[in-house]
């Protein structure tokens, strides 16, 4: 049988049952069934929540200028569920709810920086990707200036010594 192909009609297997039973294709329905079964079983664990996304989670604002400002802010806010993504990048439900909040507030006339400040008031600096100068971060801004000044000082002294 192997290596030789016989037409189903000649093989006494008119509908191809025998051929089907021997071919790897016979596993397809089993795999399909298994996949459906597993996805149904996994649903309660994989499910994030049971409600549809917030109205403005995936809908842009009608005013393109407002939407651009919302987008700019959302790209610099950290998603709380998936902490290396921005709110604009994430499909986590809480990120959707944050986008909804950002968009509706900007539509209501609130300034993006006021919304950022509101978020920082609740979650700390961690929520914002835009660095701020604070009591713990000021060396990051000052040290490079100090090093640059030291370099210029050393260079001018060394170059100035030569005739």
């Amino acid at each position: 049988m192997i290596g030789s192909f016989r037409h189903p009609r000649e093989s006494g297997d008119p509908v191809g049952v025998e051929r089907f039973a021997r071919s790897p294709v016979r596993w397809v329905p089993a795999f399909a069934g298994m996949t459906i079964l597993l996805s149904v079983l996994a649903a309660p664990i994989g499910a994030q929540d049971s409600l549809p996304p917030a109205p403005y989670a995936y809908r842009q604002l009608d005013d393109p200028e407002q939407e651009a400002r919302a987008q700019q802010l959302m790209e610099t806010l950290r998603c709380l569920a998936c902490q290396s993504q921005s709110v604009a990048d994430s499909d986590a439900p809480i990120a959707g709810d944050m986008r909804h909040q950002v968009r509706t507030r900007i539509a209501a006339g609130e300034e993006p920086e006021a919304i950022r400040a509101w978020m920082i008031e609740r979650y700390g600096d961690y929520i914002s990707y835009t660095p701020r100068m604070t009591a713990s971060t000021w060396p990051l801004f000052v040290v490079p200036l100090f090093l640059l000044a030291a370099l210029i000082f050393a260079l001018t002294r060394r170059l100035g010594r030569k005739p």
């Binding site: 929540d49 709380l80 902490q83 809480i94 709810d97 909040q101 609740r122």
Partner: protein, 178 residues
């Protein structure tokens, strides 16, 4: 032998100190928790409709009635919330007043969840757009906040409540009652 002066040792010491700092920080366990910055601040004004018919909804007024409460942020779709159900029941038996905030939940799902895992809540508010959750700096479910009688947030517990957390939370409630 050539004598090495301060010009050699000082930068080397600075470099070694920097390496030491990196080694120390890199071996510190990383925390994925985003803590709320609202501890010590009053609960924002809010009013949530009742999430299920058997319990009233929740508003900021309810939290200013003079009695400390546990505010449990949970959802029927949240697996660790099932794990902490027995501990919430134990807290309720010990006299804690627990109010619930159901995040992005449907009434029928909540009813099944409460029937299956118990209902330790005196009130359950529905937070369909995570608005209250964002307003109090909660980053996920489950989280449990200790609210004093004046409605001020006094403590945040992130993640499910374990057995060992039960006496700790009861102690926090006693502390804020003073």
């Amino acid at each position: 032998m050539m004598r090495l002066g301060l010009k050699f040792w000082l930068p080397l010491a600075a470099f070694a100190a920097l390496l030491g700092l990196f080694a120390f920080q890199l071996t510190q366990p990383k925390s994925d928790f985003v803590e709320s910055a609202m501890i010590g601040k009053p609960m924002p004004d809010f009013s949530l409709r009742a999430a299920v018919p058997v319990r009233p909804g929740l508003s900021s007024e309810d939290l200013r009635d003079g009695n400390p409460k546990l505010l449990n942020v949970f959802a029927s779709w949240c697996v660790p919330c099932i794990a902490e159900a027995p501990q919430l029941a134990a807290l309720e038996r010990a006299g804690a007043n627990i109010v619930g905030v159901a995040i992005r939940d449907r009434q029928q799902d909540l009813q099944v969840f409460l029937a299956r895992h118990g209902n330790p809540f005196s009130r359950i508010g529905a937070d369909d757009l995570s608005e209250l959750q964002l307003a109090i700096g909660s980053a996920g479910v489950p989280e449990t906040f200790v609210i004093d009688g004046e409605g001020v947030i006094r403590y945040q517990h992130i993640g499910d409540i374990r057995d060992s957390d039960v006496p700790m939370l009861l102690e926090k409630l006693r502390e804020v009652a003073k």
